[in-house]
């Protein structure tokens, strides 16, 4: 990292790497948190014509700052259309109009299956998590699914405590260490890129299963000045 003129955090690299996956004109159903941050960054950098859909019913929102919730007033005011929650799920998501679903999770397994329900046993959980939200249907109705989460042995687990969401359509997982994509006949998540300054071993150690590393492992380009400036402007809310 010493070669770069600006320094950046691992979370910033993760957000930037994720934002680069989104392309102009894509229709993206986005969850709050990391995915929303990355999608809003993309809107300000490489994908100004990205169509953001939030489960609150806002279609084509272009929020002026990073929304704190999926139902911020700014989302409705800047949207092309605002529809009801039943409609956004039935006529828009289920109807197959979404190019990419963008999800977070508490746990992921090697097939991209996600847990956002409980740590421990469902009936007697150690940690009760918020639950499924829109994820199960986003993951099966969107054409492809991007996942963002920080990579640790507690999040990248050999076996989920609970399978909230099917990983079948997951095409890319972006973490604070690198990028994973399904590879091979079994479509196991495989490390295909590492971020600047990260060695594959660090990713291996942060993974609860024996992580496969792709031939021709790539190295993520560091955030550009423009990306970092846009991201930092986005994450600095004055009303928080």
């Amino acid at each position: 990292m010493s070669a770069t003129t600006v320094t950046f955090t691992a979370d910033e690299m993760m957000a930037v790497a994720a934002s680069r996956l989104l392309r102009d004109g894509m229709v993206c159903f986005v969850g709050i948190g990391l995915p929303s941050q990355a999608a809003n960054l993309a809107l300000r950098t490489n994908a100004p014509e990205l169509v953001l859909i939030y489960e609150s019913g806002t279609i084509g929102a272009k929020p002026s700052q990073l929304p704190l919730s999926i139902g911020d007033g700014d989302l409705a005011e800047t949207a092309t259309a605002v529809v009801s929650v039943p409609e956004i799920f039935a006529y828009w998501l289920q109807a197959g109009r979404i190019d990419v679903g963008f999800l977070g999770a508490a746990q992921i397994d090697r097939y991209g299956n996600l847990n956002s329900t409980v740590i421990g046993d469902y009936e007697k959980p150690k940690v009760r998590l918020p639950g499924a939200g829109g994820a199960p249907e986003i993951a099966t109705s969107a054409r492809e699914v991007f996942v963002m989460l920080r990579q640790t042995p507690r999040t990248f687990v050999p076996e989920l405590d609970f399978r909230t969401t099917l990983g079948r359509a997951v095409s890319t997982v972006v973490t604070d260490l690198g990028v994973l994509e399904p590879r091979g006949a079994d479509r196991e998540l495989t490390l295909t890129a590492v971020h600047p300054g990260i060695e594959p071993d660090a990713a291996r150690e942060a993974t609860g299963w024996k992580l496969r590393v792709a031939d021709g492992l790539e190295r993520t380009a560091p955030p550009t000045d423009a990306e970092l400036t846009a991201l930092r402007a986005l994450t600095t809310r004055d009303d928080r």
Partner: protein, 282 residues
């Protein structure tokens, strides 16, 4: 026609111990004032229904009002966990909480089915999720034309639906605008509906994005300006983002939670006193 009554009267008359009650509002227009009134009147053994239980349900659960929660996502949006919800599920405090857990798409389909007086809704859903195992309200159904298998979900028909809106007129017709979520369905799926409003106006003026509910589908309309706080009411008051962050500390421990509820909810008579106690503008 809807009766224009106080929120205290409406809750007293219309909500009973053991009822299934749906408070809806998707980030916007969350009926906090009504939740507080349920707490003040010490309702017990409620089945609380809500797609996104957030602070209002954390308060109801922590105060022991709920026996069961029907939901799809329970958290403090943009902040983290709901500590009272977690405490109830993880430790049964103050009372055990039964869960009936769905996805958003499933809950939305359940409300829509209830609003339409159908016994079930159909969706492409619950594929590969273990949620389907946890609930008796999810089944499969076969298309009689294509043979395809889809998910069926049991309709939601709460005893009482409660929402917050910007305006009502004197006949009890209600208008809300902005993000209106699943509120129409929650009102129409419920056997009785209570609507709290920012303002009673002589006549509703149609607004862009306005959703109007005729007064004859509403049992009670109650004036409660600022009744969504800390949520927001587009055109009336902003979201109190700081409060969502503060709630994390308030609710983390049972004692601080109980003290806060005693001071700001049990110790206040209505939404105006609640605002005054917090020093927020209505």
């Amino acid at each position: 026609m809807a009766e224009l009554v106080s929120l205290a009267e409406a809750v007293d008359e219309l909500v009973h111990d053991g009822d299934a009650v749906a408070l809806e509002g998707f980030t916007h227009l969350i009926p906090h004032a009504a939740g507080h009134e349920l707490i003040r009147q010490r309702r017990r053994a409620l089945t609380l229904v809500r797609m996104t239980p957030d602070i209002v349900y954390d308060q109801l659960i922590g105060m022991g009002c709920a026996r069961k929660l029907v939901f799809s996502w329970g958290g403090n949006p943009g902040v983290g966990s709901l500590h009272r919800f977690r405490d109830a599920v993880e430790s049964g405090w103050p009372v055990p909480l039964e869960l009936e857990e769905h996805s958003h798409a499933g809950m939305a389909a359940r409300y829509a089915a209830g609003a339409a007086n159908l016994p079930f809704g159909v969706l492409r859903g619950y594929a590969g999720t273990e949620l389907a195992r946890q609930s008796g309200s999810i089944a499969t159904i076969t298309c009689p034309f294509t043979g395809e298998e889809l998910a069926a979900v049991e309709a939601l028909r709460p005893d009482v639906g409660i929402v917050h809106a910007q305006q009502a007129d004197e006949a009890g017709n209600v208008q809300m605008w902005g993000i209106t979520g699943v509120q129409k369905e929650a009102v129409l799926a419920s056997r009785k509906a209570i609507v709290t409003v920012e303002e009673i106006v002589p006549e509703l003026e149609p607004r862009p994005g306005g959703l109007v509910l005729p007064g004859w589908v509403v049992a009670a309309v109650c004036l409660a300006p600022g009744g969504a706080h800390p949520s927001y009411a587009d055109g009336y008051h902003e979201r109190d983002n700081a409060f969502y962050v503060e709630w994390d500390a308030i609710s983390r421990e049972r004692e601080t939670f109980a003290a806060w509820m005693a001071q700001h909810v049990l110790g206040t008579a209505d939404v105006a006193e609640y605002h005054a106690s917090l020093g927020v503008a209505a």
